[in-house]
Symmetry: C2
Subunit: 469 residues, 2 copies
């Protein structure tokens, strides 16, 4: 059953104090690593350390990989090399590799000399693939048989392996001598088939595979798309290297999505548990973008100065009153533009991430967004005009003001929508993550440019009334 | 292998024209439903319809469930009841239920009378559970055995079932006579154990289950958290009703995340393929929020009028020049506040969705966000002051202006951070989806309130210089 988290958190301090480690292990027997990791992550470092020390190496290792990097980094730093090496040794290769993020490169390198050579070599092999590629998080522990093995052989093979040997036995891969993937057997098929029938006659031959160099997020999407629980990874010469399993893929997708969401909010950095991030980390993830946007926003000041600023120093003139009035609607108009832009950029970025939209669809997308923006812009324009001109419910301002607002709004919103749809697709084309075109980015962009639209519209409308500014 | 999408899209029109349906089936033999659905979704309705008509009912049914609702709705509308009923009959119950979203309630109800009673009853049973709950998307097709069955019995059972009968045979559930879940067998365990050993001796007893009423997103998170490929669903009396499988869970998570992302961008509505949405649908998803925010933004006008507006109509006074100067920095300050607020609300909302943060953590979160905001605010404040006051690189404005900007920025950003962190957590507490506190929402909120802070700071600073406004 699932343990109540808070209850577990409260119990940890006592467990950390407990002398008799077997008592601790017994008390935590039915607690799953994921739940224990959660509780440790929400407790003081010392407490977590105290508990881990009392667990058997295997449980401890599995808890460690479930912890957010920041936390496990802090814990591992307190552990002797022998312990960590032991963990690396116990864990499946893909998890062991995950633990690497919690270690300094030097220490990890040093540990590779401590653990059994075979494991060290496998880790080195996996590390030789590009960062965040299929090769780096696949496991080499899959069941492989030869095309001439019988179903009875296959079942024997599965019977006589120990539990840790394979990540999954539900898929059995049929490989040629030179490790080319010939076909796939599901355990179900093996059981159904005649015991003496040959693998090559039972296997399914039409298999979806991924190259070892494919980016992890793409691999994860492939698994999710077809609902597979594992996908074979091939090297450039078509030899099977390993498998990527759905649970790893799930985690990768989740992290990728977290990074996209945060980036859309103007926050950069890897997916990390919020609570495990230091204040410094939090500032580091936000300040750079904010400063860039802040400096970009200076441009709004320049625009205002260009259109109005000069007069401010000159002798107060009639136009000054008009200017003051125009100013009243600045936040309203750039706000609406920013919000409309955020909607569009968020929609398009997500559609790109899910593959619903490809960059080659740019024309269809812009056509759609243009029409949508026109409809929305006119609606807001009418509401705006009413608010500005009407007495009682409105501000009963002169007609030329409400006309300005009414005309400026559709223009600004159509502009915002164009920017919000073109920029993400352009980014995708250029191989930049479209999520960089975040809501804050678009609204900042639209603030300054929207002002120009507003005042240009104003000038033309006012000119009609013989008002200069 | 995976088919090249564009190539397939280009081939569809010819296939739709093709007279001989067997030729079409043969040509599409190695194309997976997911890929075919993708291609159909990117083609004209008639073409998609033409292709589906030529496929065997089973393939067609599976393609249909892979299509976005909007598209399948349009296609199903063109199909005779007999065909659709046949599809409902073929599909696993959870998929059949999914097809329901593409049918009018009346038509679906009518179809239930056409399909076999047993299926109709199962669908009605599933429908009796709350909307979007585990009960609605579980499948009742799981392998169940009695505690006294031997491993040999279990293997026979699996051998003698046809392919469609069970969603998965990798998990075998041991149920008591009254359908209480006693334990779990993995197919691997069954093969490993002695053929004559009893289920009750081999089974694992510590199992994580979910109630039929649990919201689908929570069920999906549970599966993802523990990396299960299926989880048993129990009724309120602890009897096992069915299982939810990981591939369904994956899809639910993806849709839930899409809805969150869009909502954070101020777009409401269910996850749907962007390209399959009509213009009207797109407007419907965006306009309501925009109008609400737009009207809320009117408040900025009132604030400006309160602080400045009145003077605009009065005789131009010295303070008018000051006011004009103050106005220059309005977009800069509210922009910075909005961006900082978006960062915070996005971070917190995501952390809440992932369970990294619970509403009971509110105090820790606010303390953290306050310190972060203070650091960021002071940094931007200094940059702002420099820009305002410095000659050449800046606008060489009088000191009282740069002081105003320098003091106002930290206040506004701390305010934005507090709002951006408190609102999502409050929403969560109140059972509202925190994602409603979208970036546009927060920035609109901060626009008006930020202005008040700005002018209040300005008044105090100016007062120090004997300037009234």
């Amino acid at each position: 059953m699932r343990t109540d988290e808070q209850a577990l958190v409260d119990r940890l301090p006592t467990l950390a104090q407990e002398e008799d480690k077997y008592k601790v292990r017994e008390m935590l027997e039915n607690v799953r690593p994921e739940d224990l990791a959660d509780a440790i992550q929400r407790s003081e470092l010392e407490i977590g350390l105290g508990v881990l020390r009392k667990l058997d190496a295997e449980t401890a290792a599995y808890v460690l990989v479930e912890l957010p990097d920041e936390t496990s980094r802090a814990l591992v730093a307190e552990m002797p090399d022998t312990t960590v090496a032991h963990y690396l040794d116990i864990l499946p290769m893909d998890d062991a590799l995950g633990l690497r993020d919690s270690l300094s490169p030097e220490r990890f390198e040093a540990l590779l000399h401590v653990i059994p050579d075979q494991d060290a070599q496998e880790i080195r092999r996996l590390l030789s693939y590009p960062e965040d590629s299929a090769g780096q998080f696949m496991t080499e522990d899959f069941v492989m048989v030869s095309p001439l093995d019988t179903m009875a052989d296959v079942l024997d093979l599965i019977r006589n392996t120990n539990d840790e040997e394979f990540e999954t036995v539900n898929y059995i891969y049929v490989l040629s001598e030179d490790r080319h993937l010939l076909g796939l057997l599901t355990l179900k098929r093996v059981i159904r088939a005649q015991p003496n029938s040959l693998a090559r006659d039972v296997m399914v031959e039409d298999i979806i595979t991924v190259p070892a160099t494919m980016p992890e997020e793409e691999v994860a999407r492939t698994l999710a798309r077809y609902g597979f629980s594992a996908v074979p990874v091939l090297d450039e010469r078509g030899r099977m290297l390993g498998i990527v399993t759905a649970d790893d893929a799930q985690q990768i997708l989740e992290e990728a999505q977290t990074e996209d969401v945060l980036m859309l909010g103007g926050v950069t950095g890897d997916a990390e548990n919020y609570m495990s991030l230091s204040l410094f980390e939090l500032v580091k993830r936000r300040l750079p973008w904010l400063v860039v946007l802040f400096i970009a926003e200076f441009f709004t000041g320049s625009v205002l100065r260009y259109y109005l600023g000069r007069d401010a120093d000159a002798d107060p003139s009639a136009s000054l009153a008009v200017i003051a009035k125009l100013q009243l609607f600045v936040p309203l108009l750039i706000g609406a533009g920013g919000n409309a832009g955020s909607q569009v950029t968020t929609t398009i970025t997500r559609a790109l991430a899910l593959g619903d939209v490809r960059s080659r669809d740019w024309f269809r997308v812009i056509r759609r967004e243009f029409s949508v923006a026109a409809l929305i812009g006119v609606t807001l324009g009418l509401i705006g005009m009413a608010r500005v001109s009407l007495p009682v419910v409105g501000w009963s301002q002169p007609l030329y003001l409400s006309l300005t607002v009414g005309f400026a709004l559709p223009c600004i919103i159509i502009w915002a929508a164009s920017v919000g749809s073109i920029l993400p697709m352009a980014a995708k084309r250029l191989g930049i993550d479209p999520a960089v075109m975040s809501a804050p980015f678009i609204s900042t962009f639209v603030d300054a440019t929207g002002l120009i639209i507003y005042f240009e519209v104003a000038r033309r409308v006012m000119a009609g009334y013989g008002i200069q500014f």
